[in-house]
Symmetry: C2
Subunit: 153 residues, 2 copies
DNA sequence: TCGTAAATTTAGCCATGGCTTAGTTTATAC
DNA sequence: GTATAAACTAAGCCATGGCTAAATTTACGA
């Protein structure tokens, strides 16, 4: 093992490693959040499309996600397998109860993050982009902290 | 197309859809961030291990990520292919210049998010977990907003 | 009604990143 | 110095989620 530099020693003091299992747990949470990410993005988007346009077509879902139609279709098939949506061949996409309630929860979370970012002075364009990425990784506790700040005047 | 309910009409007013290409862009940013996520997690962890323990062994990387050794090894191989790390068979793992500078940037970002969460009243345990997920999805603009709040008394 | 364009599906490609099982190398302890 | 344990690699499995190209179905306008 090479000797430790002064700098390294300093950083090791200031920023000690976590316990291995606590750190592993944090990464596990991220990986799990990650698995739900695309599911949440899809149901949220589908719900928005149904609300604004009366129906959710694959072509529109793909366009708004910025991916090809077959890619979107493949994921929609998974969502159907997992009970979030229903749709018959060549028809538009509907949310199940399960899908709708996940969509509602996701949108709520998304909105809190978005409004919070605006509140602390982030521009609208950046708030839109960052909230899309951040929404899947904030716990209820953090959301509550965000809500307190939103509501504070 | 089915008729729109009163509720839906209301929500459509309050939360209009974004432009398709702006929305697609936001998702593209998330997907790209996503591709960098594991790279950043690895180099940051490897750097921390080198600093605290003098070297980074695969067994430790795997343990702290909470995944199997072969899984960690496969990703390390990718990182080597992409020029972030070097390592010879059965030896410990080193960061290249490129890897080291990414690690530094990631740690900085991670620390800002972590400290910010503490500052707004999130518990230490939650701040550790959430910062792990959030760090990859905050823009420089948002980080600056976080820094302002951290520095504000 | 019928031809064409748009939407959707199918098939098959690729990379990532999990996993297990089994083999190899290294390090250690006796 | 050698046996054993620990660390690592190899091989091969799986699901996800991108892609393209080609086939099919639907919808629409002339």
């Amino acid at each position: 093992m090479p000797p430790m530099s002064a700098d390294s020693a300093k950083r090791a003091m200031e920023r000690p490693l976590q316990e291995p299992d606590a750190q592993a747990e944090a990464f596990a949470v991220v990986r799990q959040a990650h698995q739900m990410e695309s599911t949440e993005d899809y149901v949220e988007l589908i719900d928005d499309l149904i609300t604004s346009q009366g129906e959710a077509r694959l072509v529109e879902v793909a366009e708004r996600l910025g991916i090809s139609q077959p890619s979107a279709g493949k994921t929609i098939a998974r969502l159907q397998r997992e009970g979030y949506v229903t749709s018959e061949p060549y028809r538009s996409i509907f949310l199940t109860e399960k899908g709708k309630s996940l969509a509602d929860k996701s949108r709520e979370r998304h909105d809190v993050v978005y409004k919070f970012l605006l509140k602390i002075g982030v521009s609208d364009a950046t708030a839109k982009i960052d909230s899309e990425g951040v929404e899947h990784h904030v716990s209820e506790e953090t959301l509550d902290a965000f809500r307190r700040i939103i509501d504070a005047g």
